[in-house]
């Protein structure tokens, strides 16, 4: 666990979003979001379904152009003139929420992960790309699946392929959109271990989560989004008190642990509660 990067104090912001608004037709999805992620931080972006988490991260990596507000990625503005032309994209890795349709032609894990080696103005694969791809697949525990078609892998394995695709360029900043949704405990633990190793190496992470889950020990700060606004920015919130009520389905693997760190201040816990009540 060697820290190869010099963490300067105060560390430079790698993501800076200010006054972000996003409108889609009549719905106002982001309503004035400010978010700063500094080098070396592991920031969890929490919130219920439909709170605007995915829209926010998609705006931060340039997929969605915000209706108002500015985004700076690695110090360079996004969206002005030639979109993100100044950004050093080799330092950014993005993991989308789902594998998506993935195109009409089956592709192998190697082909999909190799596409992560292309960024910015680099339109051709570098020398030794096969080794790089293999190393990335090793990091997510799928080294033996190099030649397997991705569409025949399970959902959790496909999610890991997408993580490998982001890791293959050895980014300094990793932006993940619900990387462990629907993934079993063993895979979540493996993912947390990989993240721990990378964060130890100086990786900055912004991760959209439903629950902190296995990543809890790593998360240095949490931002909670509600109704398109940041309602909390600071220490990771504790899990809900009435977590184990009847009919509640959650992906947290150790429900029993919650009792141990029950919040003394119930009101505060409820305020930070990650669920939307009817």
């Amino acid at each position: 666990m060697t820290d190869t990067r010099q963490v300067t104090e105060p560390s430079e912001p790698v993501i800076e979003a200010s006054g972000l608004h996003f409108r889609a037709g009549a719905s106002h999805i982001l309503r004035g979001v400010d978010l700063t992620v500094r080098q070396g931080e592991v920031v969890a972006l929490l919130g219920a379904n439909g709170s605007g988490k995915s829209t926010l991260v998609r705006a931060l990596v340039g997929i969605k152009a915000p209706s108002e507000g500015t985004v700076r990625l690695l110090g360079e503005p996004l969206g002005a003139g030639r979109r993100g032309a100044g950004v050093d994209w080799s330092r950014v890795g993005y993991v989308p929420q789902r594998a998506g349709a993935g195109g009409g032609i089956p592709s192998t894990a190697q082909e999909v992960v190799a596409s992560g080696l292309l960024h910015g103005r680099r339109l051709r694969l570098p020398r030794g790309w096969r080794d790089q791809v293999e190393r990335a697949l090793e990091q997510v525990g799928l080294a033996d699946r190099v030649r397997d078609p991705v569409h025949l892998l399970s959902g959790g394995q496909q999610q890991r392929i997408l993580i490998a695709r982001a890791l293959v360029r050895e980014p300094d900043l990793l932006v993940l959109d619900e990387p462990v949704a629907g993934v079993d405990v063993a895979s979540q633990e493996a993912f947390a271990a990989t993240m721990e190793r990378l964060v130890g190496g100086g990786l900055t992470v912004l991760v959209v989560l439903h629950e902190l889950g296995e990543l809890e020990p790593l998360v240095s700060r949490a931002v909670v989004l509600r109704h398109g606004k940041v309602v909390h920015d600071g220490a990771p919130p504790r899990a809900r008190q009435d977590h184990d009520r009847v009919g509640h389905h959650h992906q947290h693997p150790h429900a029993d642990d919650n009792g141990g760190r029950m919040a003394p201040d119930v009101a505060e816990t409820r305020a930070l509660d990650l669920e939307v009540r009817p």
Binding site: R58, V61, G62, I63, G84, A85, V87, W89, V92, Y94, P96, G100, A101, G102, G103, G104, I105, P106, S107, T108, E111, V112, A114, S115, G116, L118, H119, G120, R121, L123, R124, L125, D144, R147, D148, P149, L152, S154, Q157, R165, V175, D184, V185, A186, S187, P253
Partner: protein, 311 residues
């Protein structure tokens, strides 16, 4: 017999054209299938018909002697404009790509028939473009075909990794800072060039078949993008050259023969492939991981037995 065919200068030109189309069309087709725009080639083909008529009209206005001298350049221009337009519509997202294609289909045919009439021709003049007329390929046409094919191949093969990335997951490509807009336009332009290259061989109405059917054949036998493209090219060349050769001895339409042959290959391969490729996975498809439930001892034993069966 074959020597006789190969020494015929008409046939030589036709064979070279067929060979080039057989390689280029599936290269482009692979990207179109990948981005689920299989019918884009058809849309471009229809618009190219308007271009043919427009070239005819301009040629007539300028008093050029073969009145279709500008038909192919007209088709190239119209196809490129149409393809770029579809990409713009798709990007703006107001109309779905599907709907935009449909409008192109109708507009292309109607515009072609309308303009050819104004130019003093009849819709009969459009037939050779709709269904191909490979025997009338001139030296000039052949050179244009060679140059356009080389452009298509250079782009389609040289930029294959970038084009794969954009076609596979456009949002990830954007989040990687790739020039997605430019790459999409490149695919559109290359598709348009391929349509005009293939126009003389199989005709505008059947162009798309040469782009898509070889890819459909390849998909039956391979599960990798790169190999799909390669296999599709081989299939494309084989059906184009074979189909054309058949028409040397039998008086049938070359375009139709090639397409029927391609579909025949597809039918045969889809019947035979499952028998030849034994679906034996290299390893147990179920990873040997514990799940989130505590099992009683009997169930654990059964799980171990099940794991053994899969090995």
């Amino acid at each position: 017999m074959i020597m006789l065919m190969l020494t015929d200068p008409f046939m030589q030109r036709a064979l070279i054209a067929a060979l080039l189309v057989g390689v280029t069309a599936p290269v482009v087709g692979t990207y179109l299938v990948q981005r689920k725009l299989s019918l884009l080639g058809d849309g471009i083909g229809h618009v190219a018909l308007t271009g043919v008529a427009l070239g005819w009209l301009v040629g007539a206005g300028m008093g050029l002697t073969p009145n279709d001298a500008l038909a192919i350049p007209g088709a190239v221009v119209a196809a490129v404009v149409g393809a770029v337009l579809i990409e713009v519509v798709r990007r703006r997202g107001r109309t779905s790509g599907d709907l935009a294609l449909a409008i192109m289909f109708y507009g292309g045919i109607a515009g072609g028939v309308l303009l050819i009439g104004i130019a003093g021709g009849s819709s009969g003049n459009l037939m050779q473009y709709l269904f191909g007329s490979i025997s009338t390929v001139s030296d000039g046409d052949l050179w244009l075909t060679v140059v356009l094919s080389l452009v298509v191949l250079a782009v389609g093969v040289g930029l294959r990794h970038a084009l794969f990335s954009v076609s596979h997951d456009e949002e990830f490509a954007i989040a990687s800072g790739l020039p997605v807009w430019a790459l999409n336009i490149i695919v559109a332009v290359v598709s348009a060039l391929t349509v005009t290259v293939a126009m003389r061989v199989v005709g505008l109405l059947l162009v798309s078949a040469l782009m898509i059917v070889p890819v459909a054949v390849a998909q039956q036998v391979t599960h990798a993008f790169g190999r799909t493209m390669l296999t599709a090219c081989v299939v494309g060349v084989v059906v184009c050259v074979t189909g054309l050769s058949i028409t040397y001895w039998y008086n049938v339409s070359p375009g139709a023969t090639i397409v029927v042959l391609a579909i025949g290959v597809y039918a045969v391969v889809s019947l035979v492939a499952p028998l030849l490729i034994r679906r034996r996975p290299a390893h147990d498809p179920h990873p040997d991981l514990p799940d989130d439930v505590d099992l009683p001892a009997a169930a654990t034993e059964r799980a171990a037995a099940a794991a053994k069966e899969c090995r």
